[in-house]
C-alpha cells in the first residue's frame, strides 16, 4: 500500500479572503487578452492547412498516363468495416489495345460517404495503390443518393498521383518484346 499523505490546505491570507486582489488580477488577465490577435480561422474564406497523410475522403486515382488504376479486386469492399464500398467488376474490352492487358476494371465503383468512417483500411489494403484518402474533408448533399459517390466523381476527386511501379507498362513492354514472348 502506498502511503497516503494528507496535504494540509494552506489557510487563506486576509487579502485572499476578500477575493478582491484575485478578482482584480483575473480581470487584468482577461483585459490584456482583449488586445491580442484573434486566433479564429474564418473557415469558408480561409482554409486550414491540411497536413500530409491526412485521411479525408476516399478517392480513386489515375496513373500519370490518365488510366484508372483500380482493377476492381474488391479487397476494399471486403475490408470496409461499415460496408460503404460497392464495386461491380467488369472486363476490359480486348480491342482496347492500350489497356487490354490490364483485363479488369470497375464498371461501377460506389462509396457511400454517409457510411464511410474514414478509417483508411481501403487505402491500406489496395494492391494497386488506386484508392487514397486525400485532403477533401467537407462533404454535403441534399439527398442520401447524392452522397453515394460513383466512379466518375471519385476519379475526379482523386486526380492523378505518381505511380512508382509502372507495373502495367513494364508488362506491356515485355509482351511486345518478342525476345521474351513465345
Amino acid at each position: 500500500m502506498a502511503k497516503t499523505k494528507v496535504l494540509e490546505r494552506k489557510p487563506l491570507t486576509f487579502s485572499e479572503k476578500t477575493y478582491i486582489p484575485q478578482i482584480a488580477s483575473g480581470l487584468a488577465a482577461t483585459f490584456v487578452n482583449m488586445f491580442k490577435k484573434s486566433v479564429t480561422l474564418e473557415y469558408p474564406e480561409v482554409r486550414p492547412v491540411i497536413p500530409e497523410n491526412y485521411r479525408g475522403v476516399p478517392t480513386l486515382v489515375k496513373d500519370p498516363k490518365g488510366r484508372v488504376k483500380c482493377v476492381s479486386c474488391q479487397l476494399c469492399e471486403f475490408v470496409c468495416p461499415p460496408k460503404a464500398i460497392r464495386i461491380m467488376p467488369s472486363e476490359i474490352n480486348e480491342e482496347d489495345s492500350d489497356r487490354a492487358h490490364i483485363e479488369k476494371e470497375p464498371a461501377a465503383f460506389d462509396i457511400n460517404m454517409l457510411r464511410c468512417i474514414y478509417c483508411g483500411l481501403c487505402q491500406e489494403v489496395c494492391p494497386e495503390e488506386a484508392i487514397f484518402l486525400q485532403d477533401t474533408f467537407s462533404l454535403s448533399g441534399y439527398t442520401r443518393e447524392e452522397m453515394v459517390f460513383g466512379k466518375d466523381k471519385l476519379l475526379k476527386l482523386g486526380g492523378t498521383l505518381p505511380d512508382n511501379h509502372f507495373k502495367w507498362d513494364k508488362k506491356k513492354q515485355a509482351e511486345e518484346n518478342p525476345e521474351c514472348h513465345h
Binding site: I23, G26, L27, A29, T30, F31, N33, M34, K36, K37, S38, V39, T40, E42
Partner: protein, 366 residues
C-alpha cells in the same frame, strides 16, 4: 390640461422604452463581442441586411462589427417554433416572462438620466417621473423581478427550473438586505440638513457635484456592486441559470420568444443596475470628481449631460460583461456565506460607521 399634455408623456414613455429596448439588444451584442475578444475570437460578424450591409466600406465594417446581429437574434426568437411542454401550468408559464421583464421596464420611470436648467435657473432632472422616494420605488419594484423567476421555475413543473427558482429566491432575499443597508449611508450623506430631497435620486446626484460618493463611501459602493451582481443573477452569482448543473435553470422549459423575454429582462436588469450604480456612486451626469461640469447652457448642455450619463452606463455594462467572462461561478453555499456572513455584517458596520461619521461632521458644522 390640453390634449398635448396627455400625449407628450405617452410619447416620452414610448421613446424611453424604445431606447431602453435597443440598449438591451445591443448589450447582448456587446456581451457576445466582448466575450469573443476576451477569448481571442472574432465574434458575430456575418449577419447582413440588404442595402445597408452592401454599402462599400461602411457596410463591411458594420457587418464585421456584428451590428445587424441583434435584429437577426430578435427575428429568430420571433419566428422560432413556439413550443409549450405538456406538463407546465399554462397560465403561470406564460405569465412568468412578462413578470420578469415588466419590473425592469417600470423602474426606469423614476430614473433621472440628465438635467436641465428651468426658467428659474434651477437645475431640474430629466425623468419620466421625478418622485421624492425614487430609490424606494426602485427597490420595491425591481424586487418583483424575482417573481418572474420563481413563477417560471414553479410553472415549468420540472426539477431543474424548480431548483433554479428556489436558489434565485434565497439569493435575492439574502442580497437585498445587504443592498438596502449599503445605500442607507448614501442617502444619509446626500440628504444633509437644509435640503429637502430625502430619498430622491436626483438629490443624490446633486450631492455629488464635488466628489463622487464612491470616493466618500467605497465600502458602500463595493457592497452595492456585489449585491447588484447578485440581484441581476449575473456571473459569478448566476445560481438561477447555472447551466452546468441545472441545464438552464428557470428557463429550461422555455423557448422561442418566451425565452427571448427572459433574455431581454436579464439585460434590462443589468442596465437598470448600472444606471443605479452610476447615479448613486459615480456622480450621475457630473463630469469628473472635483471638476465642475463643463456642459454649456441650453439644449446642448442637456444632451451633454445625458451622453455623459450614458457613457458611464456603458462602462458599467462593459464591467458587468468583463466580470462575467473573467470569473467562475460561486458554489451555492459560498453565495449564501458571502451574503449572510460577510456582506450583511459589513453593511451593518458600514451603516453604523457612517451614522457616527455624519453625526460628527454635522456637529462640527454647527
Amino acid at each position: 390640461m390640453s390634449f398635448l399634455d396627455y400625449l407628450l408623456p405617452v410619447l416620452y414613455a414610448l421613446a424611453m422604452v424604445g431606447v431602453f429596448m435597443t440598449l438591451c439588444a445591443y448589450s447582448v451584442l456587446a456581451e457576445r463581442k466582448v466575450c469573443s475578444l476576451i477569448q481571442r475570437r472574432v465574434g458575430p460578424n456575418r449577419a447582413k441586411i440588404p442595402i445597408v450591409g452592401h454599402i462599400p466600406i461602411i457596410g463591411k465594417i458594420l457587418t464585421r462589427l456584428g451590428i445587424f446581429h441583434p435584429a437577426a437574434d430578435g427575428l429568430k426568437f420571433l419566428f422560432k417554433e413556439e413550443i409549450t411542454p405538456q406538463h407546465v401550468r399554462i397560465g403561470y408559464y406564460y405569465l412568468a416572462p412578462i413578470i420578469a421583464l415588466a419590473p425592469a421596464l417600470t423602474t426606469m420611470v423614476v430614473l433621472p438620466f440628465g438635467r436641465y436648467i428651468d426658467v428659474n435657473g434651477m437645475v431640474q432632472p430629466i425623468a419620466l417621473a421625478n418622485i421624492d422616494v425614487g430609490i424606494l420605488f426602485i427597490l420595491a419594484v425591481s424586487s418583483l423581478g424575482v417573481y418572474g423567476i420563481v413563477l417560471a421555475g414553479w410553472a415549468s413543473n420540472s426539477k431543474y427550473p424548480f431548483l433554479g427558482a428556489i436558489r434565485s429566491t434565497a439569493q435575492m432575499i439574502s442580497y437585498e438586505l445587504a443592498m438596502g443597508l449599503s445605500i442607507l449611508p448614501v442617502f444619509l450623506w446626500a440628504a444633509s440638513p437644509g435640503t429637502d430631497y430625502g430619498l430622491s435620486l436626483f438629490g443624490v446626484v446633486l450631492a455629488q457635484q464635488g466628489l463622487w460618493l464612491i470616493i466618500w463611501q467605497p465600502i458602500s459602493a463595493l457592497i452595492f456592486l456585489v449585491a447588484i451582481f447578485a440581484e441581476t443573477n449575473r456571473l459569478p452569482f448566476d445560481m438561477a441559470e447555472s447551466e452546468t448543473d441545472l441545464v438552464g435553470g428557470f428557463h429550461t422549459e422555455y423557448g422561442a420568444f418566451k425565452f427571448g423575454l427572459f433574455f431581454v429582462a436579464e439585460y434590462a436588469h443589468i442596465i437598470m443596475g448600472s444606471a443605479l450604480f452610476v447615479l448613486l456612486f459615480l456622480g450621475g451626469w457630473h463630469f469628473l470628481p472635483g471638476v465642475a461640469d463643463p456642459w454649456p447652457d441650453g439644449l446642448l448642455g442637456i444632451l451633454c449631460s445625458i451622453s455623459w450619463f450614458m457613457l458611464k452606463i456603458f462602462f458599467m455594462i462593459f464591467f458587468f460583461i468583463w466580470m462575467r467572462w473573467s470569473m467562475p461561478r460561486f458554489r451555492y453555499d459560498q453565495v449564501m456565506h458571502l451574503g449572510w456572513k460577510i456582506l450583511l455584517p459589513l453593511a451593518v458596520a458600514n451603516f453604523v460607521f457612517y451614522i457616527f461619521l455624519i453625526a460628527f461632521i454635522d456637529n462640527l458644522n454647527y
